[in-house]
């Protein structure tokens, strides 16, 4: 790891201010992805701001029947929360499908949203990568692209967002709450939080410099049947090839997909359709595959079909 200085923040706004006061600073909460990348010198922060002690570790009901999840609620605690298990089961299921028990005990809600892609070329510092080194090119397009994106891709980047949790949050219309260095707060609708790669794949979210995530809110429960189906190369502890989150109730259905794109993928226009094949057509409209990841379109169709059969049973 490159040398860095370290401080423990005492308030959310102080943390945001410290981030703009130290160019090259990063927030650290769970640290499970950041430290991995720092050891490889893919991330080289010169200053770390520890945000673990800001009291942002609670889950509480909010007006209107929704739920506020503190930014630093651990994945294990969120998945095990009784309200989440009962009313937002797709979120529990998604969390439990990701990582390992050790990692879920440490990883936080906000950190999960900000984790970096596991594209092998992002991790290989001997190869070009527009996300790691803007303008250097993309070794993944034409490379080992088997588990990379097929939706919303660009000429610059075909990386996927690795999170399972974020797929469920996209489905549930979550809102990301932040504070700026000036103390201003805002709520970012989940659909707008992550960006598509375009020609700036190194800019992954709409967060501004120093802006700190303080929590995520969920609207009131949808009811219905909750399913999260993840297809991967091992039965456990592997990133998705494709995952499908679904909530299906009386007269409504929602789907969101992981493993397909630079962000959790959802096609609201497809949700009014009833036939699984028609839904898949609409979701996969505009897909751009490589010879190695073309199987993901078939896998998405079949996984969606299986989820629909399970949820409608």
């Amino acid at each position: 790891m490159r040398p860095f200085t370290y401080e423990r923040a005492t308030s959310a706004q102080a943390a945001a201010q410290a981030a703009v006061a130290h160019p090259g600073a990063k927030f650290i909460a769970g640290g499970t992805n950041l430290l991995d990348l720092m050891k490889l010198q893919i991330e080289t922060p010169t200053h770390l701001i520890d945000v673990n002690h800001l009291g942002l570790d609670r889950i509480e009901k909010i007006d209107g029947g929704g739920l506020r999840i503190g930014a630093h609620v651990r994945n294990t605690d969120l998945a095990a929360d009784r309200i989440v298990r009962k009313d937002y089961a797709v979120l529990s299921r998604a969390l439990l499908a990701g990582a390992s028990g050790q990692l879920r005990n440490k990883a936080t809600t906000a950190g999960n949203l900000l984790q970096r892609t596991r594209c092998p070329y992002f991790y290989d510092t001997s190869k070009p990568c527009n996300k790691r080194k803007p303008g250097s090119g993309c070794a993944a397009i034409g490379g080992f692209s088997r588990n990379l994106a097929i939706m919303g891709v660009s000429e610059a980047c075909i990386a996927t967002h690795p999170s399972d949790m974020a797929v469920a949050m996209r489905l549930l219309d979550a809102v990301v709450e932040t504070v700026s260095p000036q103390g201003e707060t805002r709520g970012i609708p989940f659909a707008q939080f992550h960006r598509l790669p375009g020609d700036t794949p190194h800019i992954e979210t709409v967060l501004q410099p120093g802006e700190l995530i303080t929590g995520v809110t969920l609207p009131k429960p949808l009811g219905g049947r909750h399913v999260y189906r993840k297809v991967r190369d091992r039965a456990s502890y592997a990133f998705a090839n494709v995952s499908v989150a679904a909530v299906i109730g009386d007269g409504f259905q929602r789907f969101a997909f992981g493993g397909l794109a630079h962000k959790p993928w959802r096609a609201e226009a497809a949700e009014g359709l009833s036939d699984a094949s028609a839904i898949a057509d609409a979701v996969l409209s505009g897909a751009k595959t490589t010879p190695l990841n073309a199987f993901k379109t078939t896998l998405t169709r079949r996984t969606l079909g299986a989820v629909l059969r399970e949820a409608r049973a």
């Binding site: 430290l35 770390l48 095990a80 439990l96 028990g101 502890y237």
Partner: protein, 210 residues
Amino acid sequence: MNDPDEVTRRTVLAGSAAAAGLAAAPVIAKEPLPVQKASARMTPKMQVALTVNGAHQILELDPRVTLLDALREHLRLTGSKKGCDHGQCGACTVIVNGRRINSCLTLAVMHEGDEITTIEGLGSPDNLHPMQAAFVKHDGFQCGYCTPGQICSSVAVLGEIKDGIPSHVTEDLMHVAYSDAEVRERMSGNICRCAAYPNIIAAIREVHEA
């Protein structure tokens, strides 16, 4: 490096670690970071106070030192192992404030005031923890390199099931109960290159039933 005895002892330790762990471990115990020369890039050391296996410890550390390296290189608790150093193998698993984590993926300075339990704190050769005894009885290892992490994880897994924390294979999220399938899923963050998995499951089952 001014003390020849210290260098000799370290050399012997590093040598025996290499002989014992070479087959399974790509990374062997490293020397402590060399003392940095004063320069603009030097990071000041920081003090951190934590409790390890019941003993209060105060360490002066470069902020880059992981909890794993603090345990192994600074407190000489070499039971916790460095396998991949990237959170993929689980050999470094320790229990912090009752929860198992990968000690390689966290900085020691982030653990001010925390209570850490390593394999050395669970039991001793004369007084084995029931999980250690069960691993011995059921042959839950071959080379033994992953074993301290496996045992720390196993102890925590039984606690997680008892506390009603669900897993990916829990059918009804509101009802968590012990099963071998639950243990297999929950232990997926601990890799055993010797593939002692069936015997590890047998050991955990015995402790659960005891």
